[in-house]
């Protein structure tokens, strides 16, 4: 007879262990993020010691739940398993149903409830022995098994039985490391930069600059899609969109052609800092990587940094090669969108020979011709803010 058992998902967290007195706070934020990721799916989340267990959901949605929770930063590993009454016969029934069909295996029991009549070594031996007898195609290998069967005897008279462990996104729960403003272009780098900072627990907002009518609606849609993918890791985010068309036109009109990118980036930083202050963000995050393109030389960064007065500019990709960035973009699922051909900055304004090592005094001299405050003000008049939710 099939005994009563319930499908559950076990979520183990990382790093939170390290946080001493703050542990309660981190756990609370993490639990909230897990709950947010499961919006729209019926479930109950319980927290026995050292892990979270998702219960009372429809079995057909188990994979979807794992897929969503896998992306929540702070998640170390997950398993789909069964919660059963903690007696050897029930446990054995469940092990039978999830055991591999052939190959080598190992049973790993853990006895949280010291009242359980067998200790963990005895459980391993008993269940392992029964499995060998039940299926002659199976062999024990305690050192490098192909399959593992886990039995976790809990304190409340239940046991968790599972066989697979899925790796989670790792990192720290979003919201435990402050709030940052990500400059999100349509390219490959900036979503990866955002991912890496969010993984350290930072809540993200994103800021996108467009130059409509010189760029098109598809470029904007692409950025919204990138924000949507990122938000599946961060539990939603706000996307701010600002037009820099008039700034590009003014630079084009009044400044040397080769200064376009250098000057434009300074405007972007000014707008970002002001928006960050308005929205409570504590830093600016960019996808710059040292020396990758002309504007990302140390001189270029010096020039754009010089306008930011009161907060750090985080550049998590500064030491990455393009191939490393692409690899990560593929992993987090933004690459395919990033390589769509819509440009976020029309080539109409791209100089043929951009300045590679701008000297700050020359930049400042060129900028003299522009009404900096007025142009920034005008940019803010175009500000739109969208609430991006995960898919």
């Amino acid at each position: 007879m099939q005994r009563e058992r319930e499908i559950v998902i076990i979520v183990r967290y990382c790093e939170i262990h390290l946080k001493g007195k703050n542990r309660g706070y981190f756990e609370k934020v993490f639990m909230n993020n897990l709950e947010k990721a499961l919006t729209g799916i019926r479930h109950e989340m319980r927290k026995p010691s050292g892990r979270y267990v998702v219960e009372e959901f429809d079995a057909s949605r188990a994979d979807e739940i794992v897929e969503r929770l896998r992306k929540v930063f702070g998640t170390h590993t997950l398993s789909i398993g069964y919660k059963v009454h903690a007696d050897m016969e029930t446990i054995w029934d469940t092990v039978k149903s999830i055991a591999p069909q052939s190959g080598t295996f190992k049973v790993l029991a853990n006895r949280g409830d010291k009242h359980f009549p067998l200790n963990s070594m005895q459980i391993n031996a008993e269940i392992g022995g029964r499995l060998l007898e039940y299926n002659p195609k199976l062999k024990v290998d305690v050192h490098a098994p192909e399959h593992e069967v886990y039995i976790d005897i809990r304190e409340n008279g239940t046991a968790l039985v599972f066989s697979q462990i899925v790796k989670g996104a790792g990192g720290m729960p979003v919201g435990t490391s402050g709030n940052g403003l990500l400059l999100l272009s349509g390219g490959i780098d900036s979503p990866v930069a955002g991912y890496m900072i969010a993984k350290r627990g930072m809540q993200l907002q994103a800021l996108h600059f467009h130059s409509y009518p010189y760029t098109n609606m598809q470029a904007r849609e692409k950025v919204e899609e990138l924000a949507r993918v990122l938000s599946s890791y961060t539990g939603g985010m706000r996307l701010h969109v600002v037009s820099v068309t008039h700034i590009q036109e003014a630079i084009h009109r009044d400044c040397p052609e080769e200064m376009m990118i250098t000057l434009l980036r300074r405007f972007m930083m000014r707008i970002a800092e002001r928006l960050a202050k308005q929205t409570g963000a504590q830093c600016i995050i960019t996808g710059e990587s040292l020396g990758q393109v002309a504007s990302q030389t140390i001189e270029g960064m010096t020039s754009s940094n010089a306008v930011v007065e009161s907060m750090p500019v985080l550049r998590p990709l500064v030491g990455f090669d393009k191939t490393e960035i692409i690899e990560r973009a593929r992993m987090i699922g933004t690459f395919e969108t990033s390589i769509l051909p819509y440009e976020d900055c029309c080539t109409v304004f791209l100089p043929r020979h951009p300045l590679i090592k701008p000297k700050l005094e020359n930049v400042l001299a060129a900028e003299q011709k522009l009404d900096v405050a007025g142009l920034v003000e005008e940019a803010f008049a175009s500000l739109e803010t969208l609430d991006i939710r995960q898919k």
Partner: protein, 373 residues
């Protein structure tokens, strides 16, 4: 809003929509069904088939196969070719023919592409030079969808058949049907028409086939359309197509003259300092292709969009497919190809709105030119 992108699609004929609405509702039946209700709908579909066919082909020699789109019809023609011999198309073909031919080339077929004259029509001598006795298909677009250039397909087909009597001659007539006076002649084997360019809805088009011309199905299934295009008939769209086509054909000459006037008006009023007219004076009046010197067509398009004028463009800001293949094939250089706008009319456009549109186009183009120095 002034809509001048009618070659992309045009507003559905509202009377035709209303007249056909019952096939979405009370008369929803499957025309293949054996009860009376289904059979009644079947007869209606057959009526639509006969009448649409009569608008483009002489009685007797041709039949009509409904398809789901003009692109599908074009693909069916290309993929009906045997896998030997060669195929000749032109550089001015719609993507549905051009990219299907490219796929056949990738599979090892000998595909030959004839060059274009400056107005977008095919270079006839070059075309004839490519055809030989092994040619299995020649496909020449009737009215080019970017420049409006008209190819004399009846004469081309006759000449091609002298060189390659066993070849099949196809023409994509999507921008011609219901717009320019034309009836199929005996040397043309296959002809594509589409509903949504003449007031029909999207989701139905047709392939006109000279009886016996080589054609194989792309879609297999319940055997509808004589086994050439399976799939339950889109009866609403088919009937609406019929009614829209009926209206178009009835007013074809009158509309042609009116649209010609609108076309001439735009040609005359566009600022010659900025715009160069690419379409020749003998082109279909429904399509007018112009190049704005030194400007990006897509940027101008966005500005016009904000000013309430909707036009098409021959270029895009995207780095892939930035320039129109057809415009480049006309011998227009990349710098000019960047600034191409396609203005396409419908008989419903009024003179006053077209005048207003031209003035908005001039104003915005001048403003953009000023900003670009």
């Amino acid at each position: 809003m002034i809509y001048l992108d009618n070659a992309a699609t045009t507003a559905p004929d509202a009377d035709a929509v209303q007249a056909a609405a019952k096939y979405l509702q009370s008369d929803f039946f499957n025309p293949s069904a054996l009860y009376k209700e289904g059979f009644e709908v079947h007869k209606e579909v057959e009526g639509a088939r006969r009448r649409i066919l009569s608008y483009v082909a002489p009685v007797g020699g041709y039949e009509l196969i409904f398809t789901g789109s003009g692109s599908e019809a074009d693909n069916q023609v290309l993929f009906s070719c045997p896998n030997h011999g060669n195929i000749v198309i032109t550089g001015g073909e719609h993507a549905a023919v051009y990219n299907a031919a490219k796929e056949l080339a990738r599979r090892g077929m000998d595909v030959r592409i004839a060059g274009l004259n400056a107005d977008g029509s095919v270079n006839e001598q070059e075309l004839f030079g490519l055809v030989d006795k092994n040619t299995v298909l020649v496909s020449v677009i009737h009215v080019n969808n970017e420049t409006g250039a008209i190819n004399d397909i009846a004469s081309l087909a006759s000449h091609v058949k002298e060189i390659a009597p066993a070849s099949v001659f196809h023409s994509d007539g999507v921008q011609a049907f219901g717009k320019i006076p034309f009836t199929l002649s005996g040397k043309i084997d296959l002809y594509t028409i589409s509903a949504h360019k003449i007031g029909g809805v999207r989701g139905v088009a047709a392939l006109i086939r000279r009886k016996g011309a080589r054609l194989h199905p792309l879609i297999f299934g319940g055997g509808q359309e004589n086994g050439l295009r399976s799939g339950t008939e889109n009866t609403f769209a088919i009937k609406q197509f019929e009614f829209a086509a009926e209206h178009k054909i009835a007013s074809l000459s009158k509309d042609f003259a009116r649209v010609k006037e609108l076309n001439l008006l735009v040609r005359g009023e566009l600022d010659p300092e900025i715009f160069e007219i690419l379409s020749s004076s003998s082109a279909s009046p429904y399509i007018l292709s112009v190049a704005a010197k030194g400007l990006r067509g897509e940027v101008l398009l966005h500005m016009l969009n904000d000013a309430g004028v909707l036009v098409g463009t021959g270029s895009a800001c995207s780095s892939k497919n930035r320039y129109s293949r057809v415009i480049l094939a006309c011998g227009v250089g990349e710098s000019r190809a960047d600034g191409v706008l396609r203005i396409s009319f419908s008989a419903n456009n009024t003179e006053s709105e077209v005048r207003e549109a031209v003035s908005i186009i001039n104003k915005n183009a001048r403003a953009l030119a000023g900003r670009m120095r």
